[in-house]
Amino acid sequence: MTLVGKKSFIVMTLLIPVLILLVGCVPVLLAYVNNSADTSVTRIAVIDETGRYAGALKNNTNYRFVPLSGQNVKNPHDFYKAAGESLDAVIVIPADVENSQQVSLYSEKTMGQNILSYVTRCLNDTLRNAKIAAMGDPELLSKMEQAQVETQVKSIKWDEKGDEQEQSAGLASVIGMVLAFLTYTFVLSYGAMIMNSVVEEKTNRIVEVIVSSCRPMELMMGKIIGVGLVGLTQFAIWVVLLSIGSAILGLVGGASMVANPEAVTAGMNLPGEAGAAGAISEINTAIASINWLSLLGNFVVYFIGGYLLYASLFAGFGSAVDQASDSSQFTMPIILVMVIALYAGIACIENPNGPMAEWCSIIPFTSPVVMMVRLPFDVPWWQLLLSIVLLYATALGCIWLSARIYRTGILLYGKKRSFKEVLKWVR
């Protein structure tokens, strides 16, 4: 009851999705701002000593190139001065550009990376084609284009009937990792929340009043379930806000992408429109290939099991300390196991069906995290079943154990207890 009303909690609930969205779209946003905020057109005079390449520099919304004949200008600086405000920079394409592969950009202001890479891109193709043409084989260009190789490995999965289904290992790994991280952070942060709440009630001494109104077991389970539901609610709010937010961003982003594709792709260094579209369709087929229903279903099952297991341990050992500052001796081992689980999960991405992944996804203390990594890669049903049964059995065991510690611990004050003493209370 004290948690949900807190301002900090409400602020966190609303702020986190905004933060995630921000972090997610910062690169796009930056690229966009970078390219569009600069609405003034940069005018660049092109002194082409070869007389052949000035045309390669195409004007666009940001840059306007003014070709000049090379002979007229002896000194770029004088020319620049004479032009005054109407000119921002001067490009000199030297006569030996085919050999030196170097052009110079003069200006009084420092010019950004954008213009440099734009000029490079424009000249590269033209110069290369000119070089190829100079070799005297008219078919060389088309031969070279034919010879260009970009190998792609298509991962195809058979289902039981032998039907083929395309899948994306990359996407599966990413999803697995995201779920594993979610479980890890959720269990740890809400576990710590429960522990704090237990310790707070004990330091407040209100616990004696509360347990004179309900049984310690009820108080502990109420706390675990309550905080869990708060967490799930928070989680649901995040999902809703995130999807609304990303939909809005998608619309805005999409619109700007249509209006100004060059700016966005240039800023993000994407291979180009065609490449981007290809990647997106690839992601789409990969997304379609994943069985979302069973993935999310299993996620929730593991999530709840893992949460119950660790939350009850946090509650039980939290009851053994008088002050939050004393709790580290009990939280350390719990957190350590969680960290091991996370690292095991990360390691299992490389080989999600290897022996370590199998073992760690069956051992109940690591399975809620490690199984997340394996879930997108179709785990054998018997392993899944075994792991879930073990997880819930262990969770129930931990609840039982913690309840026994809790009911003694909350009423004992005074000296710091050792791990051994606390375990004695179980009897």
Partner: protein, 299 residues
């Protein structure tokens, strides 16, 4: 009829015997003192009556029936170590704890208003508990203990932390709750308050009941044949070997005498009248404080 009957209760913690075959019989509508030095076992006994812990053996009856989980809604408990959620509003705290005792929200709200007014806390109900002074927090705690109108109230050192004015108010409230039919179990080592409000007591020492009964009866049992004698004209009463000796007691207005064995009060008064102008004689009963110290130190 007894409201609480604790019969032969034993409780052991980690090799330490906290309650050793303890009996406690609290009549309905009585203010009953549960006395004893620190660590005697009072809190252990209270926690068993509260169903916070269970007795290893023995029975606890409430209103003639064995104590059950549902009975706790009929108990109000003010623990010695006071505790409230500090970060929430006074009104929320009171309503929450009342509802935890099974009180419907609507009734809890209206009852809360009554109690806040009685303790002049109405203007504080929207404030966080941590903003209140310690005395006010104690009052809030008291309200949370009694708001659900339990038939049994257990107060553990209720007066600690109250100034004399507030303590007096609290005493009046406790008396009134008793008059309205509540049975009150009152644990303390403040013997002055025991004399003021308790009708019966049980004294626990070293996990055992060492003394129990009505306060006046216990005092009679422990009386030492002491009388305070007042005589006219500022005369000084001297000891009379066959009848009484004088006990030095600077605190009394008059002379304290102790009758010798077998001597009656009648004879003594006759003798005093002969030799002095007797203006008054009152029996000096031992204070609960003296009885407490004597009992605890002797056993």
């Amino acid at each position: 009829m007894n409201f609480i009957d604790v019969n032969d209760v034993v409780k052991q913690y980690d090799g330490h015997l906290a309650l050793d075959h303890v009996d406690l019989h609290v009549p309905q509508g009585c203010i009953y003192g549960l006395l004893g030095p620190n660590g005697a076992g009072k809190t252990s006994l209270i926690r068993i009556i509260n169903r916070i812990t269970r007795a290893d053996s023995g029975t606890v009856m409430i209103n003639g029936k064995p104590l059950e989980d549902k009975d706790i809604t009929n108990i109000g408990y003010l623990p010695e170590e006071r505790g409230l959620y500090k970060k929430i509003k006074v009104a929320d705290e009171i309503v929450y704890l009342a509802r935890l005792k099974g009180m419907p929200k609507k009734i809890a709200l209206s009852e809360m208003e009554k109690w806040l007014e009685r303790f002049e806390l109405t203007e504080w109900k929207g404030r966080k508990v941590e903003e209140l002074s310690k005395g006010m927090q104690q009052k809030v705690q008291f309200i949370t203990t009694v708001i659900h109108r339990p038939q049994l109230l257990i107060f553990d050192e209720p007066f600690s932390g109250f100034d004399p004015v507030n303590a007096e108010q609290l005493k009046r409230e406790i008396m009134q709750l008793r008059d309205e039919g509540s049975t009150i179990l009152f644990s303390t080592h403040n013997m002055a308050s025991v004399e003021e409000i308790c009708e019966q007591i049980t004294l626990i020492n070293h996990s055992r009941v060492v003394l129990e009964g009505r306060v006046d009866e216990v005092k009679q049992r422990y009386k030492k044949n002491l009388f305070v004698v007042n005589v006219a004209d500022g005369a000084v009463v001297q000891a009379q070997e066959s009848l009484f000796e004088v006990v030095p007691d600077a605190l009394q207005q008059g002379t304290v005498i102790k009758l010798c064995k077998g001597v009656t009060l009648r004879d003594t008064i006759a003798w005093l009248n002969e030799h002095y102008t007797l203006t008054g004689i009152t029996e000096q009963l031992p204070s609960m404080n003296e009885i407490f110290i004597e009992t605890v130190q002797n056993k």
